[in-house]
């Protein structure tokens, strides 16, 4: 087992474990907004680690494509989180009893009163 194999193995296993933690969060968190956190962060890190772990075992010309995959994931995850989070809040899927502070609800309430 060479150093490259060792490095790749560590990256792959931590990456896969990170993906698993993300999936656990997806299952256990109470509402969509919290599940989004689990879906975006551990998944992105997990995928990037797996990409690194795989890339060191490939030839350079193949490995460059993996950089592209990682870049796509890192750029798109926050965008998706924002879109789904907003849709969830508007749909009322964010459970109020899990929130300690909610400035957005205050503001919507204020604007509604002003409209009346």
């Amino acid at each position: 087992m060479s150093w490259v194999d060792l490095f790749s193995g560590i990256c792959l296993i931590t990456g896969a474990a990170s993906c698993l933690f993300g999936a656990i969060g997806l299952l256990t968190f109470p509402d969509v907004a919290a599940r989004l956190q689990a879906a975006t962060k551990p998944q992105t890190l997990g995928l990037i680690l797996i990409l690194i772990g795989s890339a060191v075992r490939l030839e350079a010309r193949d490995a460059s494509g993996l950089i592209l995959v990682g870049l796509f994931q890192a750029l798109t995850a926050p965008v998706l989180a924002q879109l789904v989070g907003r849709a969830a809040y508007r749909a009322g899927s964010v459970r109020e009893e899990t929130l300690d502070v909610d400035h957005l609800a205050h503001r919507i309430e204020r604007e509604r009163r002003r409209g009346l």
Partner: protein, 204 residues
């Protein structure tokens, strides 16, 4: 659900330049960064790096940008290489920290996890800076931006796993991100503004 539409903006602060407007030749010159990015993606997808592939990539890029022109963009971004390197390193480190934190919440708290939605008013007034700050914040530990109010420079940030003192901590985090982003791509004026506010926060 109450609609809270964001009112249109009618004033633009100074110090901005318009991309893809004006003389055709200058338009072409301004399109070069986009073209370079398209060619890079093309090369990475093919996985072969030779003159023929590059030339064909440039041809396809010119055709694509010519036939499907992007809408005119007003931007006030100044690239600062050292700031960008530091921003990327900070993003990478933050991704690791947030993964650890979210994983811990998932295993230890699960269905009992608490959260907060905090309103933060940014210091600078720029479309692109706000978009970048929002993206950076969405990578930060346990946070993501739920709603933006561009006209009033307000971000509504959803923060996972924090107590009643959350608002101040989240506000500090978001402003710290804004500082990093401005250090990477902000103008000199925005940099002064951010540094002044930062010192003000320290003094408080």
């Amino acid at each position: 659900m109450a609609e809270h539409a964001i009112p249109p903006r009618n004033s633009r602060p100074g110090g901005e330049h318009v991309v893809s407007a004006g003389h055709p030749l200058r338009r072409l010159v301004r399109r070069i960064p986009l073209l370079a990015w398209l060619v890079l993606v093309w090369l990475l997808l093919w996985g072969t790096y030779d003159l023929g592939t590059t030339l064909f990539g440039v041809l396809v890029g010119v055709l694509v940008t010519g036939f499907f022109p992007a809408p005119p963009i007003v931007t006030d971004i100044r690239l600062r290489p050292w700031g960008i390197v530091r921003l990327v390193m900070r993003l990478a480190w933050d991704l690791v920290v947030s993964t650890a934190r979210v994983s811990w919440h998932a295993v230890a708290q699960g269905p009992r996890a608490r959260a907060a939605i905090v309103e933060v008013r940014l210091v600078t007034d720029s479309d692109h800076l706000m978009a970048m700050v929002a993206n950076a914040v969405s990578l930060a530990p346990g946070n993501f931006v739920l709603q933006l109010d561009r006209a009033n420079r307000i971000c509504y940030v959803y923060a996972l796993g924090c107590g009643r003192d959350a608002s101040e901590r989240v506000r500090r985090e978001v402003l710290a991100w804004e500082r990093s982003v401005v250090r990477a791509v902000g103008t000199a004026e925005q940099l002064r503004l951010v540094e002044r506010t930062h010192r003000g926060v320290e003094v408080d």
